[in-house]
Subunit: 133 residues, 2 copies
């Protein structure tokens, strides 16, 4: 197996685990990403679309469904009355943290557990180097 296969498989593995964890909390992968983005931002719909790589028309429904479940709210912007800021609620924050914690535990059990500490550091370093490009 070469680098291409290794990274391809790894990405499916990690995304699969994340999807499963999210599913246990009745969240889709996209909803989870949404909440993740909103943990440290209060973006407009447009900015949200940029962060998630989605069209603005896709964001409408995504936020609508999250709002129905009480995970986010929309507030009118005061600077520009056309735009709305999306803000995560307490419930949303709790869910996001729960998923994040469980994901961290999955990494610990499935990655960290099979690598020596030095290997973990090296893997982190290499991946970061790739991501920063």
């Amino acid at each position: 197996m070469d680098l291409v296969d290794a990274l391809g498989q790894l990405s499916f593995e990690v995304q699969g685990a994340l999807a499963e964890i999210a599913g246990k909390h009745d969240l889709s992968l996209v909803q989870t990403r949404l909440l993740g983005v909103l943990r440290d931002r209060e973006p407009t719909m447009q900015e949200l679309g940029r962060h998630l790589g989605l069209d603005k028309s896709s964001v409408t429904g995504l936020v609508l469904r999250a709002q129905r479940r009480g995970l986010v709210i929309r507030t009118a912007s005061e600077l520009d009355r056309r735009s709305a800021h999306v803000i995560i609620t307490e419930d949303g924050l709790r869910l996001a943290s729960a998923v994040a914690d469980e994901f961290a535990r999955w990494i610990a059990a499935n990655v960290a557990a099979v690598l020596a500490p030095a290997e973990q550091r090296e893997l982190t370093r290499l991946v970061k180097k790739v991501l920063s490009s």
Copy 2:
């Protein structure tokens, strides 16, 4: 950034690239995986579901859409007349190869290009170690 964030982000990055490449060939990520599985197998619908981690009722539609586009065919099993084997067509093979090649080029440009040869080997080794667990 720690190991958890690094692997999370990497998986989104890789899957995003793969989805984009697949999209250029009018394939979804799932269709691409389907064709990938079929490159070296002629599974029944059930086996296909197991490989992809999907319910059998999900596989029906997936294969149906692929069949409409001439990417796969279904043939009746001779051992068990209840089951059908899914087989990739020449067109399907061509598409699968095109996506795989382009993905390999993406890895070369975005991963291999920023790592020294020894680092690439080390990354591959570490990822394989994780996957084999």
